[in-house]
Symmetry: C2
Subunit: 394 residues, 2 copies
């Protein structure tokens, strides 16, 4: 739990306001400052909602960008305005934590395509006066990163001491190092990969089909009709949630334990704790997440293929990087296995980059990056301190 967050006055906020919905600062970009997308289209006007923690130093050299995962948001280290729950990375970020807000200025923005204040499918399309829905162009990881770079430009932060994130956040970290090699001093991609695998795409496709199968989805126009594909989104979340945990973690947490009953009921209610847990995960998720955003986020991940963008050779993607890397994977992560992280290490080694790599032994699966994982904290603390010394941030 973070008790005291320094929400100091933010630099470069001339055109930022505070969104009631997301309780965040929002940077607005006018029609003459469009976001250019990989698909060839543009988004304008553009909004980026963000949170900051800690204080930017005078040299503007202590900024850390945190990149959030698929269903994450900018509320990394402070209370979520809708759920009232602590920020999703309070274990990692705060005063005295591995990402120490007493030393660094931490920024996290809601990704483009998201649903917590940045432009996404639920945003009103100024051309039509109604929510974008599927009229929003498909977003890529590189588009998300380009938007973050635009935000940092407005905040007058020329370069980043560090970019850090797990899962889809880790993809953004890698993309930062590739697309802005001279603006990243240190990069910490966690539990991620340089491309989405066939199995990853398959699970995402199931989630999307579940959403689209819901009669209330209405071709993506549910907001116009004041409906919500709750059931489909819940099924999508349930499927994905299984992939975030290891079989061993589920076994230890639930086994075959029954839910508030002494015996099997011979029916289709949630007899087992794991069923009840999944239903709960599904039902709470739909209260805080937009179904179309789920489609856009999963598609962005599916499309991610750094090697594919560089002639099929991953090392080529990293040729220009100056960043030092700290790569972390988890033994029981079967969604983003160590092997995929190791491929990144090999590619970085091939271009002579400065890389440290730690595979953390844990049975908690992919979600380990969000959990109390001491070896991860120790690894990142050590890496941060060393990088800060190199950067002259002592």
């Amino acid at each position: 739990m973070v008790k005291t967050i320094k929400n100091k006055e933010k630099p470069g906020q001339s055109r930022a306001d505070t969104s009631v919905a997301s309780n965040s600062a929002v940077m607005e970009f006018a029609a003459d400052e469009p976001l250019k997308l990989d698909c060839g289209k543009e988004i304008s006007p553009l909004k980026i909602a963000y949170q900051t923690y800690g204080t930017l130093n005078e040299a503007r050299s202590n900024a850390i960008l945190v990149c959030h995962a698929l269903t994450g948001d900018q509320h990394v280290a402070s209370e979520h305005p809708e759920t009232g729950r602590p920020g999703w990375w309070t274990a990692m970020i705060g005063p005295g934590k591995s990402v120490d807000t007493d030393r660094y200025f931490v920024i996290c923005s809601n990704v483009i395509g998201g649903c917590m204040g940045s432009t996404g499918p639920s945003t009103i399309n100024s051309d039509t006066g109604t929510p974008y829905g599927l009229q929003l162009p498909v977003i890529t990881i590189a588009d998300m990163v380009r938007a973050q770079a635009m935000l940092l430009g407005k905040l007058e932060i020329p370069d980043l001491f560090c970019v850090i994130g797990g899962s889809m956040g880790g993809m953004q970290v890698l993309q930062w190092a590739v697309d802005y090699p001279d603006r990243v001093f240190a990069a910490v991609p966690i539990a991620t990969a340089a491309r989405h695998t066939s199995q990853n795409i398959a699970f995402h496709e199931v989630g999307r089909q579940a959403i689209m199968a819901d009669n209330d989805w209405l071709g993506g126009d549910y907001l116009k009709h004041e409906t919500n594909p709750r059931k489909g989104l819940a099924v999508a979340r349930m499927t994905a949630h299984i992939t975030y945990l290891s079989g061993e973690a589920l076994h230890q947490k639930f086994g075959r334990n029954l839910q508030n009953r002494a015996a099997l009921t011979y029916g289709f209610d949630a007899d087992f704790q794991v069923e009840s847990y999944l239903r709960y995960q599904g039902s709470t998720f739909v209260d805080r997440f937009d179904a179309n955003s789920y489609l856009y986020m999963t598609r962005a991940m599916d499309y991610f293929d750094l090697a594919g963008d560089h002639g099929g050779i991953l090392a080529n993607a990293f040729k220009g990087t100056f960043a030092r890397f700290c790569i972390v994977s988890f033994t029981s992560d079967w969604l983003f296995p160590t092997q995929g992280n190791r491929e990144i290490v090999h590619a970085l080694n091939a271009v002579g980059a400065n890389v440290s790599f730690v595979e953390v032994e844990t049975d908690k699966g992919h979600d380990s990056f969000l959990l109390d994982t001491p070896e991860m904290f120790a690894t990142i603390s050590g890496f941060m301190s060393a990088a800060a010394r190199k950067r002259g941030l002592d």
Copy 2:
């Protein structure tokens, strides 16, 4: 491909007819011969649809019962009457195959709760004149096996030379050895477990929720209203299908290959081959399978826990068995991993049973038991021949 199947006159067929729907023999049990279920209820009248291959010898000692998996049926080695495709285990069963129909009399019945001619949720409930739907009591693996034993009684087959099956079929094999220890000479459970794990239950629950979320499911009464929860059932199948394959198998088969297009479309169509493949798997499945049956089959597997039924000690379940066992698992099967198969071996060792165990090296995942897996065929051929000699079937 099995070219010639000897569909000889079947013994004990006094009350059997041929179902048009399943193109199979159907054994009917009258109201005074109910199937007693684990839940305490009964089903009557009862129908069991089945296929046979090969010839029962005079001593009636060469019968092999094949137990099918979740979405399987009795058409193991002959054309499926609805899809026109070859039987699902023609690689294993036929003249000269590992399960040699020139030597053995092979029986396979559609499980209770299924949708290929045996009593299931789509069967007309004689009490109401409408399909059972969710009025059918929940079925267990032991109930399926009890029904098979009733069928064998009618066929005047006192005991089985062998019971064989994979996945849910393997569960039935284990249940046979436990419940009818003196009627099983040899048992071949493949790619299975003595209990469904928390992760297994979780994936099944997602599938059920997908079906129940479909507006056309109508509380299970869709047949009465001439609808069909096709979308929900397709999503359930897609999810399950991913678990039947290994990540490596998906990678080798599809990788990130695009489907009939040169570049990403920046949309939500099936850009990737794996998406197109999954959608096809979903859409063809709904043409041949009943959504409520899917609920019942998955529930039966979830409830399966042989140790739980015997004081928590798996060895106790096998105390009375006389069968010799051949247990087969696959290295890349993450749904029913080798570890679960090994627990069965340990339990059988603890009661001094005759067990051989082979872990087959393959990257094809759980579905390996249905595929051309030479090491599995060789293992089972050898085991069958040795068991046949012991049984005096030379």
